[in-house]
Symmetry: C2
């Protein structure tokens, strides 16, 4: 088995830097594909593909606007991610102490060798 399909969950969808950039841009409001592509320096097909992934995991929605198709943010899917990562909050403060302990262990180990 290879990697799980990108479209299967939000963690995977936002693992791609360009997709994260798209999401950031969309915070400023809806935008057509071409504009996104241009602002991010990617090709139109490229942008379309990334947008498709984002749409399939529900982070983005689209609506027709005349000839164009406007993409807009739907950030609700990011909430679980925020919560999951938040579950480690107390650890990234604690980490420094732990790291200290770790370093001391290292020193000791080195002495014992």
């Amino acid at each position: 088995m290879a990697r799980a399909a990108t479209t299967s969950d939000v963690f995977n969808a936002i693992a791609e830097p360009q997709r994260r950039e798209i999401l950031v841009l969309l915070r400023a409001g809806e935008r057509p594909v071409t504009e996104l592509a241009q602002e991010l320096g990617m090709t139109q097909p490229g942008a379309s593909k990334h947008l498709r992934v984002l749409r399939e995991v529900g982070l983005v929605r689209d609506r027709k606007a005349g000839k164009q198709r406007l993409y807009g943010l739907d950030a609700r899917g990011l909430r679980p991610v925020h919560e999951w990562v938040g579950g480690f909050e107390r650890f990234w403060n604690e980490s420094f102490d732990r790291l200290d302990a770790y370093v001391q262990d290292l020193k000791q180990t080195r002495l014992e060798e």
Copy 2:
């Protein structure tokens, strides 16, 4: 070009469900590879490989403990992720209203067709 290497950034590293499970387990404290593998129902080489990725992005550190090698959490790398996702916080509350607006747009579009 394919996707950026998993080992290059934290977003990619935590895109893998099993690696997320490992991180969660490690919140309870340091553990040797074998134990992790067993608790998560994966093979020892499998666990080692995931741990390597986590180590390379700095989410995990290891120290020798006799014959064993204990892996421990270093959650500091998750902080930027939390912050990035947190940048969307106001949007996932706002989303419902936006969605309403969206639905109304849809209705109108449909009427116009």
